[in-house]
């Protein structure tokens, strides 16, 4: 963890512009062209919309992770939180449709609560967030296995699953619009609004320089705690969509935390905080998903997914780092 170098004001403006969404849009455009060459059908509204719907969970997680990262912390617990939520939902609903809405509420409250605990332990007890959320990861995985005796129990109701796999049918022009996509658009709009509000500016300021923020009267601990709560909430929504789309398993959220962090960094957000936009983070997640789709089209083995993910993240970060240091 290297200390972030503070640049003088004019340079910092350049940097924030450099950390904008243009590079990730360029990568996205290149990938779209590659996809179009190989599989032109993919760009037709129905398949494109269902792709966006499928990508909704990881994009939501990236947005949640963005809030935490831009405030200068990490959240490694989101993958295990998603798993825990999916398994808990199945057991609580137990295939009883009437329990759908109460359980959705329970999941949202649960996600916010886990975020609150992460935030308070990190800010009030001064435990590095890496350790806090790693501990939370172990606790959640252990607890969920313990609670279900090693195998998921119960089942999700069709009412619950529809968020992840049903769609508005027969929409003019577009055809089929997945519910997940609508949820994604609503959350994305809320996230953008939030980052444009006073809170958003405070959040970035806290990540950029907590000391200065503190001295200007910002309650740093409260701001960071809220960021963790937002990440927990995003994980809850992602879990609802994922549970619906791919069903109940202990692997539901495995590895999603690193996926979300990769996406955020790919979207031009600096680890350590203070730089990057939530739109960039979400576009980063979309790019990553598109890349995996592209690999499918070109017949690359699924086992190599992580190699590609690793290579992409290294190249993206190295290139942006070189650009900064050449200034």
């Amino acid at each position: 963890m290297q200390t972030v170098q503070r640049a003088p004001m004019p340079l910092r403006i350049l940097r924030s512009r450099a950390g904008g969404v243009l590079p990730i849009l360029a990568i996205l455009a290149v990938l779209l062209v590659l996809v179009a060459v190989r599989q032109p059908d993919f760009l037709a509204p129905p398949s494109l919309l269902s792709f966006l719907g499928r990508s909704a969970p990881i994009i939501l997680l990236a947005a949640g992770q963005y809030f935490v990262i831009v405030s200068g912390e990490f959240d490694l617990s989101v993958g295990s939180l998603v798993t825990a939520q999916v398994v808990v939902a199945a057991r609580l609903i137990d295939s009883d449709p009437s329990r759908t809405w109460p359980v959705v509420a329970v999941l949202l409250v649960g996600g916010a609560f886990v975020g609150l605990v992460n935030g308070l332990v990190t800010t009030r007890l001064r435990v590095p967030s890496f350790i806090t959320t790693l501990g939370m990861f172990l606790i959640l995985v252990g607890a969920v296995y313990l609670w279900s005796d090693g195998a998921p129990k119960g089942g999700l109701s069709e009412e619950f699953r529809r968020f992840g796999r049903r769609a508005f049918e027969d929409v003019p022009v577009l055809g089929r619009v997945p519910y997940a996509l609508v949820v994604l658009l609503v959350v994305a709009a809320l996230a953008v609004l939030l980052m444009r509000s006073d809170f958003g500016r405070t959040l970035v300021a806290v990540g950029d320089n907590p000391r200065t923020a503190e001295l200007s009267g910002v309650p740093v601990w409260r701001t960071r705690t809220i960021a963790f709560v937002l990440s927990g909430l995003a994980a809850a929504v992602a879990a609802i969509l994922l549970g619906g789309y791919s069903g109940v398993s202990f692997q539901a959220g495995a590895g999603l935390e690193f996926g979300a962090i990769t996406a955020v960094v790919l979207g031009g957000v600096a680890l350590g905080g203070g730089r990057g936009s939530v739109v960039g983070a979400m576009l980063g997640a979309l790019t990553l998903e598109l890349l995996f789709t592209l690999m499918n089209f070109y017949g690359v083995s699924g086992a190599l997914r992580s190699t590609v993910q690793g290579a992409i993240i290294l190249i993206a970060v190295a290139v942006s780092g070189l650009r900064f240091s050449s200034r």
Partner: protein, 324 residues
């Protein structure tokens, strides 16, 4: 991070040993009441075996964390090392030394890559080593479905299962490696430079320390330790295991052991003796719960809580010291 300590072992008895003594005392009492025996031959041996594997990785991890870096790729390096070693040996005693050499060389190569990415390309260590880890994961997932190769019988008999009284040879290896790393940190220029970089890279650079070279060396040593742990695990399992590193959570647990051992995650403060204390603490909790036949999943919950609590206590202490 004010006031750089050039003496990594300034506090020779970190709080982790107090915690370890307490845990062992309470654990012994509870197990005794439960009608079991905590310190019989077989539990002690298995405790030390667990500690040896995690310990080797954590000792290496201490080096990079002290220097203000971090290595998330160790779990994959470890898995890779078991495979390289076991496949090269292929059950032949004659190939023992070349296989160990090759496994360590491959590991060192990964460490070199990590180090260069962190220093020359200035990629955040978290991202750089995560990226390298993912590269290796893809290679392992793509090439291996299950165990492969076969460890030389002579290695299995010695490093894997031989012991001196209740102390396994592998734990002796851990003690030797820890001693060497302790000496390096407290008595050599490299060690002092590494701690100085972890304390404040800019000040270290201005004082004439070659930051890049020192950090790259630390990363290579860290990967070598993970590679050594891989050879040990290959000797325990009798073959190469492509998922052993990740399933054992060696990446995250080694970092947890380092931090429980009193090394600051931000670098510049701590030492390798504390890390071994942290490893033995984690292994002891494991052994106590095994004796009490506590559910494995409950064990994990407690583990997570202990890691957070331990670090919270350190943070509280540091805060109090800053106030006074």
């Amino acid at each position: 991070m004010s006031g750089i300590s050039f003496l990594p072992a300034r506090r020779p008895v970190p709080g982790v040993f107090v915690a370890l003594t307490l845990v062992l005392a309470i654990g012994w009492l509870v197990v005794e009441i439960d009608g079991g025996q905590l310190f019989n031959q077989s539990t002690t041996v298995s405790l030390l075996h667990v500690a040896a594997g995690l310990g080797l990785v954590a000792v290496g991890q201490t080096l990079v964390i002290l220097g203000g870096s971090l290595d998330l790729s160790v779990a994959y390096v470890l898995s890779l090392s078991t495979l390289v070693a076991a496949e090269t040996m292929n059950g032949r005693d004659g190939a023992l030394l070349p296989a160990i050499g090759l496994a360590l060389t491959v590991s060192a190569g990964v460490g070199l890559l990590n180090g260069l990415l962190v220093t020359k390309l200035r990629i955040n260590a978290f991202i750089a080593t995560l990226g390298v880890g993912l590269l290796l994961k893809g290679y392992l997932d793509n090439g291996y479905d299950g165990p492969a190769g076969s460890t030389a019988p002579s290695l299995v008999q010695t490093l894997g299962y031989q012991r001196v009284g209740p102390v396994p040879l592998s734990f002796v290896l851990l003690v030797v490696v820890t001693g060497a790393v302790w000496f390096t940190l407290s008595r050599t220029r490299f060690g002092h430079h590494l701690v100085a970089i972890g304390g404040d890279p800019e000040v270290a650079r201005l004082s004439g320390v070659r930051n890049d070279r020192v950090l790259v060396t630390a990363h290579v040593l860290c990967a070598l330790c993970a590679g050594l742990a891989g050879i040990y695990l290959a000797s325990r399992l009798g073959s190469g295991a492509p998922r052993v590193g990740t399933e054992g959570l060696y990446d995250l647990e080694s970092i947890a052991a380092v931090v429980i051992g009193g090394t600051a995650l931000a670098g510049g403060r701590g030492g390798v003796i504390g890390t071994v204390g942290g490893v033995v603490l984690l292994a002891s909790i494991d052994a106590i719960f095994n004796q009490l036949e506590v559910d494995a999943f409950f064990k994990q919950v407690i583990r997570g809580a202990i890691i957070i609590a331990a670090v919270a206590i350190y943070a509280r202490r540091a805060l109090r010291k800053a106030d006074s």
